[in-house]
């Protein structure tokens, strides 16, 4: 009898551990849905959409809630597409978007009778960076970036001269954000052609300071970051100009400095980001006051979280647009590449 007791205790402990472990996991899932359930009872502003816009919206929401106790702002991150789906179903008041609304999405909104105002709030930009001692890589084409970062490059493209023959026969050390990052989605979407499609053999970190450290001290490094991280570490890294081989939006290779981003010529690695506000939701006074607050703070907040603020005159145009209840999007299917937000907004007026 005694011989059985010890194995019996061990098995019991093991089973109890697994059962408790599983119940912990499922209860943490339940608590998420409870938050969503109780959220309807107080005055709530519901926002969802792009994970890229999330940091700005989240920052603004936090500040707003500090000043307006009793109003709750929930910010989700279902992605731009997921956000628009909910938005056109009337489930949320504001949709965060890292691109203009697509015509298919606009149709869905129209069918459901959802009207909206489109408000650009900042620019998102990515920089390609190398070590200051790197004397060869001054510019790179989008095709070369694709060759370097696509999944097929994994364990195959490992040296600089495999990208351009006059670059050195040395190993290339790649640095980039991890898969949870919006920057990762944006880069892979624009460069490789499908969001999330990337090689995996690079130093991936969600902590941008690790990436800065990596590129700043490694002669053979190449990395991509949000532009803001370069601005804070200009002496440690060197920008690589990007050539999209499309002459309609700026000729040759372009550096991601403020002017080029605002002009819309640093393509495809810069883009305006938006919020879409439902007209129906604007009947609630707290939504109007929140959007006013958002537009007043978007510039500071976007800089704070690492994006590029719109020029001040563009913010006034955007505020004007909101005040005048201008419905719909300024982007049409035939909108040319390289047109600035300012031109689009002015044309509309």
């Amino acid at each position: 009898m005694k011989k059985i007791i010890i194995p019996l205790i061990i098995v019991t402990v093991a089973v109890v551990a697994i059962v408790m472990y599983n119940s912990n996991r499922s209860s943490s899932k339940n608590s998420d849905s409870q938050v969503a359930g109780t959220a309807n009872q107080t005055s709530v502003i519901k926002i969802d959409g792009s994970s890229t816009v999330f940091p700005i919206t989240e920052g603004v929401a936090e500040e707003y809630q500090k000043e307006n106790a009793g109003i709750k702002v929930t910010v989700g991150l279902s992605g731009t597409g997921g956000g628009f789906k909910k938005f056109c179903n009337g489930e949320i008041d504001i949709s965060d978007a890292s691109r203009p609304i697509k015509s298919s999405e606009a149709e869905a909104c129209q069918k459901a009778g959802i009207e909206y105002i489109e408000l650009p709030i900042a620019y998102d930009g990515l920089a390609i960076l190398v070590n200051p001692e790197n004397t060869w890589a001054k510019e790179i084409t989008v095709a070369e970036l694709k060759k370097l970062w696509e999944p097929e490059a994994q364990n195959k493209i490992t040296k600089w001269n495999q990208i351009r023959t006059d670059w050195p026969n040395e190993e290339i050390h790649l640095f980039g954000p991890g898969v949870d990052s919006g920057t990762f989605d944006y880069f892979t979407g624009e460069i490789v052609g499908e969001e999330g499609k990337s090689r995996g053999d690079y130093t991936a970190s969600e902590d941008d300071n690790v990436l800065v450290q990596g590129v700043a001290t490694d002669k053979n490094a190449l990395g991509y970051f949000g532009v803001a991280y370069y601005t804070q570490n200009q002496d440690k890294m060197k920008l690589v100009a990007v050539n999209d081989e499309d002459e309609t939006n700026g000729t040759g290779a372009v550096l991601p400095n403020y002017d080029e981003v605002v002009k819309g010529t640093y393509q495809p690695l810069s883009r305006p980001i938006f919020i879409y506000v439902s007209i129906k939701a604007l009947t609630k006074p707290e939504i109007k006051s929140f959007v006013d607050f958002y537009l007043a703070n978007a510039g500071t907040m976007s800089k704070e979280v690492g994006y590029i603020a719109l020029p001040d005159d563009v913010y006034s145009l955007v505020t004007e647009r909101f005040k005048n209840n201008k419905k719909g999007s300024v982007y049409a299917a035939d909108t040319e590449k390289g047109v600035t937000i300012k031109e689009l907004l002015e044309k509309e007026q």
Partner: protein, 301 residues
């Protein structure tokens, strides 16, 4: 008189409760270990439902989060192996020489001062070692090897070696010190020099103790997390080149732990399966070390 009239039933009951609580405390550690193993096995089982064990053990690419998913643990093992070898290459000679010096050459006063100081190195938090490797050792090494990447296996390996020196020095010193005086005196009587005594008598006699300390050091290096997570990079790669970024098993677990892999997915299960692999390796090493130490204890009793 009053004391002896305590009812015997209550007395026995008290005794039982105390005994049970002692049993509980002493076995708590074992229970926790059993629980950990159970969860590792449970999640690993889920993982191996989807990935064959052959692919896991022999695959040469580790990219569970990327577009082309590969689940070969070899790159992570290579990273762990590489940093561990470097650490031991540093810690074994320095640790052993320190042990010999402290035990045979230095005076008693020196020894009573230096040994606790040496053990204090072990009290430095590993996160401090990590940044020491990244921000001090790596730039220093880059002056010597200009091609050294900023994240590499060499610098954290060396720093891990420094961290393990006291462990090896202290345990080996105990082993050498414990060699009976008789053996030493016998050797000296035959006209052997001090170095000859150390090389031909003491080290062979204390061999199992020294080997056990080295194996404990190896298992410490394999399980070390913070230093490699900070200074070795985050790129699983199958290489033995110490100058390029690599990733160890432990650093991978940290990386995934910091991200948001949803529970129940295969990405989430990977941290348990590599954790289980790590556990198996350190468990085997610790067992070997234990057996060696047991032999060393028996030898001269």
């Amino acid at each position: 008189m009053g004391k002896t009239t305590l009812p015997t039933v209550s007395f026995h009951f008290k005794e039982k409760v105390i005994e049970a609580s002692f049993f509980f405390c002493s076995s708590l550690c074992i229970f926790i270990n059993v629980a950990i193993i159970a969860i590792l096995v449970y999640e690993s089982y889920g993982f191996f439902q989807q990935v064959s064990i052959v692919e896991f053990l022999t695959g040469t690419e580790w990219t569970p989060f990327f577009y082309e998913k590969h689940y070969g643990i070899l790159p992570l093992f290579a990273g762990t192996f590489l940093t561990t070898i470097i650490a031991i290459a540093i810690a074994l000679p320095i640790g052993l020489i320190s042990a010999v010096y402290l035990s045979e050459y230095s005076g008693t006063r020196f020894r009573t001062i230096v040994k606790p100081l040496l053990e204090m190195i072990a009290a430095v938090p590993t996160v401090v070692y990590g940044y020491f490797a990244l921000l001090f050792v790596t730039p220093m090494l880059q002056n010597i090897f200009p091609n050294l990447a900023s994240f590499n296996a060499l610098s954290p390996g060396i720093v891990m070696g420094i961290m393990i020196i006291p462990l090896i020095a202290s345990l080996s010193e105990d082993a050498i010190h414990a060699v009976p005086l008789m053996l030493r005196e016998g050797a000296y009587a035959l006209g052997a020099t001090r170095l000859q005594v150390v090389r031909r008598v003491l080290i062979p006699a204390a061999y199992s103790g020294i080997a056990s300390s080295v194996i404990l050091g190896i298992s410490r290096a394999i399980g070390e997390t913070m230093i490699v997570a900070i200074a070795a990079g985050g790129q699983p790669r199958l290489t033995l080149d110490p100058t390029v970024p690599i990733q160890t098993i432990t650093a991978y677990i940290v990386q995934v732990g910091l991200g948001d892999a949803p529970a129940g997915t295969i990405e989430y299960q990977t941290i348990f399966v590599v954790g289980a692999s790590l556990f198996v390796v350190t468990f085997l090493l610790n067992t070997v070390s234990y057996l060696l130490r047991k032999r060393f204890q028996h030898a001269y009793e």
